[in-house]
């Protein structure tokens, strides 16, 4: 099986959101970076499928050159190769992102390497557009099942499970297919030291697509109200228990 997983580099924001002065981005000078937990689970799922059925996992990201770090981390989980699409230092909207991913897949196909399965996060951690996977599937004319909490592949068919109120909905689709996954579909492994060393040797190529004008154009970011409360300190240590119970009574929960 050949599987493609799409991941997006995002800042690991801590206890509060701090914006740059121009309100166009999160201030990242003191932050680390990561990918969405959904995408991390997507990589783990792809690696498990290849461990089971044989094949290769490719990881693709559209981002700054530094996004190579995040791709390298997925190679340590067990992916085989990476592709970085340089974003030119600008944010791409969901339509443009999907188009760049589709063009890359078509170039891979032309070079003789199609993908049986293309894996996305259900939504990106930062912009949460809930659509890139669906747009890619549509452009390629492939079925897409979203929000998976379970996936099994057998004989050219994918059995996909969604968690819904009171149980699970099951979808069965033929491959090649597109899926979007949620955290909880698996528990990703911690990469071992040898796996991290091996990841250093794996290939990552960079390509530079052209950015079209955004059709959902970010004007500015705003920190919502509510950040920056000051908790009332009920006390220190176990002696605060009576005060806590008083609060519970006031709220009508005790």
């Amino acid at each position: 099986m050949r599987i493609l997983v799409c991941v997006k580099r995002v800042p690991l924001t801590g206890g509060k959101m701090v914006l740059t002065a121009d309100e166009q981005a999160i201030e990242t000078r003191h932050l680390g970076f990561t990918i969405s937990p959904h995408e991390e689970c997507g990589v783990e799922e792809a690696v498990r499928l290849v461990e089971q059925h044989g094949g290769e996992v490719t990881v693709l990201t559209l981002g700054p050159p530094e996004a190579e770090e995040q791709v390298r981390e997925t190679l340590a989980i067990g992916a085989d190769r990476g592709i970085v699409l340089a974003d030119g230092g600008e944010e791409w909207d969901a339509q443009a992102t999907a188009a760049a991913i589709v063009a890359t897949i078509e170039a891979e196909q032309a070079a003789g390497g199609d993908f049986d399965l293309i894996v996305f996060g259900n939504e990106s951690a930062d912009s949460g557009n809930y659509q890139v996977g669906i747009r890619v599937a549509h452009a390629l004319g492939r079925p897409v099942v979203t929000g998976l909490k379970g996936l099994a592949v057998d004989g050219g068919q994918a059995s996909c499970e969604q968690e819904v109120g009171g149980g699970r909905d099951v979808f069965r689709v033929p491959l090649p297919a597109v899926v979007t996954v949620l955290e909880g579909i698996n528990l990703p492994r911690y990469p071992s030291v040898p796996a991290k060393l091996r990841a250093r040797q794996k290939p990552i190529e960079t390509r530079t697509p052209e950015r079209p004008e955004p059709r959902l154009e970010k004007l500015r970011l705003v920190v919502p109200p509510g950040q920056g409360k000051q908790a009332e300190i009920l006390g220190q240590g176990p002696e605060a228990a009576p005060a806590v119970v008083d609060v519970m009574r006031e709220l009508g929960v005790a």
Binding site: V170, L216, A240, V247
Partner: protein, 303 residues
């Protein structure tokens, strides 16, 4: 001008919020799938028959037919899994932008949620037909039964529309109080220290009829299942009281519990970021504080 609203039977309240949101843009008309209750506060209801079990492609085809017929000025859905999914399909087919999880709209400018609600974005949507989903609880629901004019139709579905369709539903009965519905949620983070460390949280929870939740560090460590995780990529909770034990208060965790009426933080660090999101705090070691609260409650309850 008509604004078309995708109404989901299973998400009545959120769909009614979408109707209210659409009302700020024009005259809401509902799109529903046969079998759904049409008693909605709208002018007209377009009911698609013959769709069977949920199939996003079929819903998108049916909705698209109504768009062609009604020529609305915008299409709105609740920001649910299905609402976002169906609008994304319509957007892909028509080559249009789609703004997910909006909280407000003013002309061609939307305010939408990022980072699960920890950040907002103002964006301009360049489109002849804005496709918008509405973030949960951004606006109050449109009330009332209403008696819209009902137009029933049977969409012309292609094979591809039914390639992805619910084939089977497996029932699962979950034990205990549901995290999403509990009046009190007691969550533990890294500070709980181990899977066994949750014993004292369980004990307090049993007294309060509370659900036990956790942070992502806890699920990543395998101490609790992901179904217990509260946050941006876990469950969103809205209890009367949320008790965060040994949780630092990362924005992605707060995204899941800020719907709580009150938050109580129990943390050994008086500088922990959670104190800026909490209403009350107790500073100290949770392994001493949590059992002390349990004991105090028991004492108060013995006559």
């Amino acid at each position: 001008m008509a604004v078309l609203v995708l109404v989901e039977q299973e998400a009545d309240d959120l769909s009614r919020q979408a109707i209210a949101f659409a009302g700020t843009l024009g005259e809401p008309e509902a799109f529903l799938v046969g079998g759904a209750d049409v008693a909605l506060p709208v002018q007209r209801a377009h009911v698609a028959e013959g769709l069977g079990a949920y199939a996003p492609g079929a819903w998108a085809t049916a909705l698209s037919e109504v768009i062609d017929r009604v020529q609305p000025s915008a299409v709105v859905a609740a920001g649910t899994e299905r609402g976002n999914e169906v609008l994304a399909h319509v957007a892909a087919r028509r080559g249009l932008p789609f703004a997910a999880n909006c909280i407000a709209v003013d002309g061609d400018t939307v305010t939408r949620v990022r980072w699960g609600g920890s950040l907002l974005e103002e964006a301009r949507i360049h489109s002849p037909l804005p496709l918008l989903s509405v973030a949960p609880h951004a606006v109050p629901a449109a009330e009332g039964a209403g008696s819209p004019e009902v137009e029933t139709f049977t969409p012309a579905l292609g094979d591809a529309d039914l390639l992805v369709q619910v084939a089977e539903h497996v029932d699962e009965v979950s034990a205990g109080v549901s995290l999403a519905e509990a009046k009190v949620v007691i969550s533990g983070g890294r500070g709980v220290g181990s899977a066994d460390g949750f014993g004292i949280l369980e004990e307090l929870a049993a007294l309060l009829d509370a659900a036990v939740g956790c942070s992502r560090v806890v699920t990543s460590a395998g101490w609790r299942p992901h179904t217990d995780q509260v946050g941006q990529t876990g469950t969103k909770v809205s209890p009367d009281l949320y008790i965060a034990c040994g949780i630092s208060g990362a924005t992605q965790h707060i995204a899941g519990c800020k719907g709580a009426k009150k938050i109580l933080a129990i943390n050994s660090d008086a500088e922990a970021p959670i104190l800026a999101s909490a209403d009350y705090a107790v500073i100290g070691d949770l392994t001493e504080i949590v059992p002390a609260i349990t004991a105090e409650l028991r004492k108060a309850r013995t006559p």
